[in-house]
């Protein structure tokens, strides 16, 4: 029977589907009965979803165009 510590240790792998079927099953069986592990799993999953959907540290179009032009100019200068 998996403990909360076992589940927590495998949480990342569980979300990335990198656990074996047998361990995945143990994690899931534990979560059916453990509200706090389920809450941690659910909120971590939502955290990653928010990070993926929202993004972060975007380069603005303006800066992006300036950087691209500058790279090109420097390469042309050297060649």
């Amino acid at each position: 029977m998996f403990s909360c510590e076992d589940v927590l240790a495998g949480l990342s792998d569980y979300m990335d589907e990198e656990l074996t079927a047998a361990i995945r099953k143990q994690v899931e069986e534990h979560m059916v009965h453990c509200r706090s592990c389920r809450a941690v799993y659910d909120s971590t999953r939502k955290t990653l979803r928010i990070v993926t959907d929202t993004g972060a540290f975007e380069l603005s179009e303006e800066v992006s165009a300036r950087v691209a032009a500058s790279i090109r100019a420097k390469i042309q200068q050297k060649s």
Partner: protein
């Protein structure tokens, strides 16, 4: 509706007319194969003999085998189509979506769960299947006829899954029921891949190879295309390391100039973007050294020996992000990410924001996969903990 052209009118194909009379329309799965009506006929015969004709297994058991395998094979088309089919047939039992997401979390009888466990194992871990698995099924009361049909059903599911994926058949059965399952308390990550089949994190082919070759042959425009394609990713990587937008902006230029200069040393052993991101990590570390900052990627901390324990285990609402505008959310994520030590922050940014695979992230950071996984876990849990006060339901402490 699919990747290849459709030929002819539906009325020219008796089998399609028959299918249309059952569903009220011709599903894209068959439309996509109209170039070969003879194969559609053969497949319909196969489906009829294996799935529709009842012998040992019931239709319900066979549909469930089809669902769990299709979910494991990430066939959005087959999962949505057969969830709807189970409803159309009036099959009683758990919601078909729940079977697809996680049959073990349903109230199916033990023998049926064992049958589906075996189907998933055969579907995805063939090399582990042995006579012991068959004996276990016998212990659950299944005869050889049941076992034979189960094995053939797994084969049929894989057959149909690969046709739907390979031909790009667009789901045309109602997918909303599957989507609604995302609000269930225990949703398993398998479902997210089913719903986002296009978001494969690590395409096997390096799509930059052609541009790299053209750059080597003197194509400055090709290199410009590589810059446009990857500069946002490189900028994010640099911010993750340096935490400084000015450093990151300057760093992007240096990274690409270094890449251009050393392009000959790129051998193609890893993907170009992996190689480029490694240059970005080095650039960021160099900038940290110049600033004499100590937030190193490898800095060992006493906390490494102790597993991270979440303190706030309050439940979050279904869509906590709805509480904030996109701009606000981005601000919160950026602020909290930058508070996490670099050792844990950079793996999260590479893996979860840049969508590198676990192996690629480990390769970029020049650490082993186990070390990467340990840092990633801690980083994700730290970010979750940091977001909990703004996203969690404050009333639901456990």
């Amino acid at each position: 509706m699919s990747y290849i052209r459709e030929a002819g009118d539906d009325s020219e194909f008796p089998t399609l007319l028959e299918i249309k009379s059952q569903f009220g329309f011709v599903p894209n799965f068959y439309r996509a194969q109209k170039l070969r009506p003879d194969l559609i006929d053969a497949e319909a015969g196969l489906v009829g003999a294996i799935l529709i004709t009842d012998r040992a297994l019931t239709r319900r058991q066979k549909e469930y085998i089809f669902l769990v395998c299709s979910a494991d094979n990430l066939s959005t088309y087959c999962v949505t189509a057969h969830c709807e089919l189970v409803r159309m047939l009036g099959i009683e039992g758990p919601e078909p979506e729940q079977i697809a997401l996680d049959h073990n979390a349903t109230n199916l009888p033990g023998p049926d769960k064992a049958l589906l466990d075996f189907a998933v194992k055969l579907n995805n871990h063939q090399k582990d299947v042995s006579g012991t698995d068959i004996d276990k099924l016998r212990e659950q009361g299944f005869a050889d006829e049941h076992i034979l049909e189960t094995v053939i059903m797994v084969g049929l599911a894989k057959f149909a899954n690969f046709i739907s994926i390979g031909l790009g058949a667009e789901p045309d059965f109602d997918a909303s029921a599957v989507i609604s399952q995302l609000s269930l308390p225990a949703v398993f990550s398998r479902s997210e891949k089913i719903l986002n089949p296009g978001e494969s994190q690590s395409p096997l082919i390096d799509e930059d190879v052609d541009l790299v070759q053209r750059t080597r042959s003197g194509g400055l425009d090709a290199f410009g295309e590589l810059v446009n394609r990857h500069q946002r990713r490189i900028y994010r990587t640099l911010i993750a390391v340096t935490r400084n937008p000015d450093d990151a902006e300057d760093g992007v230029q240096n990274v690409f100039l270094k890449a251009f200069q050393h392009l000959e040393s790129f051998q193609g052993a890893s993907k170009f973007v992996t190689w480029l991101t490694r240059i970005a990590i080095n650039e960021g570390l160099e900038r940290l050294r110049l600033r004499k900052e100590v937030d190193s990627l490898d800095m060992a901390g006493a906390e490494d020996d102790v597993p991270f324990r979440p303190r706030d285990v309050s439940e979050w609402g279904d869509d906590p992000e709805q509480l904030y505008s996109r701009k606000e959310l981005r601000g919160i994520i950026e602020r909290e990410l930058l508070r996490i030590p670099a050792k844990y922050r950079v793996p999260v940014v590479l893996r979860d924001l840049q969508h590198f695979s676990t192996e690629e992230t480990a390769e970029i950071l020049k650490i082993g996969v186990p070390a990467l996984k340990s840092r990633l876990l801690r980083g994700r849990l730290m970010l979750r903990e940091a977001l909990a006060p703004t996203m969690g339901r404050r009333t639901a402490h456990v």
